[in-house]
């Protein structure tokens, strides 16, 4: 493992550019009751970049995102979004940042239109949500209850909500988990469109095909530590494998048997999708 950490360290110094990062995290540490969830993490996401935060469940992805957003208080570390401290300049920062959390957060009987209207009312400057809904294929759902949408429609709606503030930065936490292959493809298309518009995106995902298709740079976490940081191609090149998924599994767990088993399951998912 020390070899990999060394590589990641090199990458990091090589990458510390002159451009100002949109999201800058320095020396982030967070523990829950003695257990370290995130340890000495440094992340820089530059303007227009799609940055993928990867790792198994419990590797610290969500904790990292929540610490960056300020919904969890880090034990140590410096965080800035768009050059501001999200803790201190909350109002200013979140005027320009869109967030989608892992859990669905909406009222039980609310309709799509009502949820969009309420979301719009929270911000000073907003984009009109109707064209965005149309772009995401949801314009006929305005009067539908959010709870009655299909999983894929709901996830697309949550991207729309994250886009309503007309943000410069978007945080997407496990956007496609639990979706069927077609719905995932639809969500990818939407994300690519956002990327083309120059949005900066920080996302987490469990699907390596998704990460390959969308992310400019990635960071792989294991037990709260950065074990790889760079592009997908670099991740493959530094591993003994040719496929990114194999490389990812090689990074995230050393145990051969478990890795093979996991690989089989994930491959099955991929196979289904290509049908």
């Amino acid at each position: 493992m020390t070899g990999i950490e060394g590589i990641a360290g090199m990458k990091k110094t090589g990458r510390t550019g002159k451009r100002e990062a949109t999201i800058e995290v320095q020396d982030l540490n967070k523990s829950y009751h003695q257990r370290k969830a995130v340890e000495s993490l440094n992340v820089s996401v530059f303007p227009g970049e799609v940055f993928g935060l990867l790792g198994a469940n419990g590797a610290g992805k969500s904790t990292t995102i929540e610490c960056i957003l300020g919904t969890k208080k880090p034990d140590r570390g410096r965080i800035s979004i768009l050059g501001m401290d999200p803790g201190k300049d909350r109002k200013k920062v979140f005027e320009r940042v869109g967030v989608q959390f892992q859990e669905a957060n909406y009222q039980e009987k609310i309709t799509v239109e009502e949820l969009c209207e309420v979301t719009r009312s929270l911000y000073e400057t907003t984009a009109d949500y109707r064209p965005i809904l149309q772009q995401f294929g949801l314009s006929d759902k305005l009067k539908s209850k959010v709870g009655e949408l299909s999983g894929g429609q709901r996830q697309r709606l949550f991207i729309v909500l994250a886009l309503i503030p007309d943000p410069e930065v978007v945080f997407l936490d496990e956007l496609t988990t639990g979706l069927d292959p077609r719905a995932r493809r639809d969500v990818w298309k939407c994300l690519s469109r956002m990327k083309e518009k120059g949005l900066t995106i920080l996302m987490t995902s469990h699907f390596m095909d998704e990460v390959e298709a969308l992310c400019d740079r990635i960071m792989i976490l294991k037990k709260g530590r950065n074990i790889f940081h760079g592009t997908v191609q670099e991740a493959i090149a530094k591993s003994p494998y040719e496929k990114f998924e194999d490389a990812y599994l090689w990074y995230t767990d050393g145990d051969e048997g478990q890795m093979k088993y996991k690989g089989e399951i994930e491959e099955e998912g991929e196979w289904n999708e290509s049908i």
Binding site: T71, R90, E95, Y106, Q107, I110, F171
Partner: protein
């Protein structure tokens, strides 16, 4: 302000869609009032009393909606929105999560005031209600009672670990309060032992204040209920602010 208005409108629509508050805060007080009106009509409260039984009950019946919103509605909605991570979601917007709590308090206050208006109209149109008290004193007492009962609800909703616990606590508070504090069963008709127990409930004290203000008579002693109600409002608000769980 824009956010408050839009949220208020939407949350009110959602609440009306749920119907619970329409039943417990709007219909129930009216039903109780009509029953009391039919049973006692314009009989005097007691022999030689200067006011009717119905006038005496008015100050009690108007608290039913306050109790329904305060100790049933508020704890449930607050714990529900915490459980659904709605409060957390608001943390990553320019608006503070406390906004949605203010909206909910506003909605339950609106239900209570609507109920107050309807109850008064019904009583004066159909049962010839005459109140000899002072309106400013009555409204002062009314909002004070509302503040104290709502603060209990915010505290329960704010500290309950989940919606299930909040629901149990709300029921434990709501039903005894509804039945034994004199809001539905007239306090004056209770045997003395029961009155003693009822006196322990904050709403009983609130109802004493309201009756005194609406009838314009010195009902027992006003100072003690006033201190109790004020104390509860301050203590529960303070505790809720100190121990409120956003997640």
């Amino acid at each position: 302000m824009k956010a408050f208005k839009t949220m208020f409108k939407t949350e009110l629509k959602l609440s009306l869609r749920g119907m619970d508050m329409v039943i417990f805060a709007i219909c129930m007080p009216l039903v109780i009032l009509v029953i009391l009106g039919i049973l006692y009509g314009d009989q005097p409260a007691y022999e030689g009393a200067g006011y009717t039984f119905l006038a005496q009950s008015f100050g009690a019946v108007v608290t039913i909606a306050i109790a329904a919103g305060g100790v049933m509605g508020l704890p449930l909605v607050v714990s529900d929105y915490r459980g659904k991570k709605l409060l957390k979601r608001l943390k990553v917007t320019p608006v503070r999560p406390v906004m949605i709590l203010a909206v909910q308090v506003g909605i339950f206050a609106l239900y209570a005031l609507t109920s107050l208006g309807l109850t008064y109209l019904t009583a004066s149109l159909f049962f010839d209600l005459r109140l000899g008290g002072s309106l400013p004193a009555f409204l002062g007492a009314y909002f004070l009672v509302m503040a104290s009962i709502f603060s209990i609800g915010l505290l329960v909703g704010g500290v309950a670990p989940n919606q299930k616990t909040a629901g149990v606590l709300a029921s434990i508070l709501y039903f005894p309060m509804l039945i034994f504090s004199g809001a539905t069963l007239p306090y004056e008709e209770m045997p003395p032992v029961m009155q003693r127990i009822a006196d322990l409930m904050p709403l009983t004290q609130g109802i004493k204040l309201l009756k005194s203000a609406s009838l314009g008579v010195e009902y027992d002693e006003v100072l003690m209920p006033l201190i109790i109600i004020l104390g509860i409002a301050l203590a529960c608000t303070g505790l809720a602010i100190r121990f409120f769980r956003w997640e």
